[in-house]
């Protein structure tokens, strides 16, 4: 077996094992909602703060519906369905719920309450993004680039180039939203490379 075939089979295994996570377009609505929320927080609208929070909540609900219902149907119709095996990912699920998510919450509390000279939440997200990449089939070097970018952003306040505390978290939310959008598009492209359009579909597309 040539290394190329072995690589292809490994990729087939990884994509099938993590099919949901490679459906990149699903992440775009959430990223857009985060970006919009960061924008609303950074601009001084005359809207009352409560109304702003309700608008944000509605945006996130809309994003959730688009991601699960509309885009879920799109992927099932065009790429097929895979029933995953949760028993293969017990460690990943445990690490996510008992380590990664709590670490992000703690990092945000540290940023808000202790106001350290750098953005700790950005560092926590950078680690989470790299862990996400590795635990969902590897590849996709763009996530490593995003993580490095987040680390760079997080240490900017040390040089006086960005705010810390609550003011530092608003651009962070926007940047993470942007990562969801760009990462989603690139993940989708990777998925299309692995699951190439079938002949009948190509023919229809070219008509």
């Amino acid at each position: 077996m040539t290394p190329m075939i072995a690589d292809r089979l490994r990729r087939i295994h990884d994509v099938t094992d993590n099919f949901f996570f490679w459906q990149g377009l699903r992440w775009i609505p959430l990223g857009t909602a985060m970006l919009a929320y960061a924008f609303m927080r950074s601009v001084d609208f005359s809207t009352a703060s409560d109304a702003r929070e309700w608008i944000a909540l509605s945006l996130f609900a809309l994003a959730l519906w688009l991601s699960t219902s509309v885009l879920g149907r799109y992927y099932a119709r065009h790429f097929g369905r895979v029933r995953g095996d949760a028993s293969r990912h017990v460690v990943r699920t445990s690490v996510k719920w008992f380590l990664v998510y709590p670490a992000i919450v703690v990092a945000m509390l540290v940023d808000l309450e202790l106001v350290p000279p750098l953005i700790v939440s950005g560092l926590a997200y950078a680690l989470a993004i790299e862990a996400y990449r590795q635990s969902t089939g590897g590849g996709r070097a763009h996530y490593t680039a995003f993580a490095i970018g987040l680390v760079a952003f997080s240490i900017l306040p040390l040089f006086g180039a960005a705010p810390v505390g609550r003011s530092g978290l608003t651009p962070l939310i926007g940047i993470i939203g942007l990562i969801y959008i760009v990462g989603g598009v690139l993940d989708h492209r990777e998925l299309v490379r692995v699951l190439a359009p079938i002949e009948e579909e190509r023919h229809v597309a070219s008509v």
Binding site: I12, T16, R81, R83
Partner: protein, 104 residues
Amino acid sequence: MSRPFEELADLDRLIHEPARLAILTALAACKAADFLYLQRLTGLSKGNLSSHMTKLEEGGLLAVAKEFVGKIPQTRLSLTDAGRTAIDGYWKTMDRLRKETRRR
């Protein structure tokens, strides 16, 4: 001492064929997948994929279930226990062969 070429010749041809190996590798990574997913994954025509599916089903490695999702008929494929054992055994043999050939 084991002889890699003989072991290579002994590999299950039903599994070793590239398209069938791709199908089995994908199904080993999940509980089940539908026909469309496997068609996109392998790039095979419907007829070719059906032919490989039939061979694997007849070999007892694959289970095929027809079902409806809403009003749309679907073909769902999964590995049988024998299929899972066979693909695991195949990869173990391949790994061993690779190590042995590197050692020589």
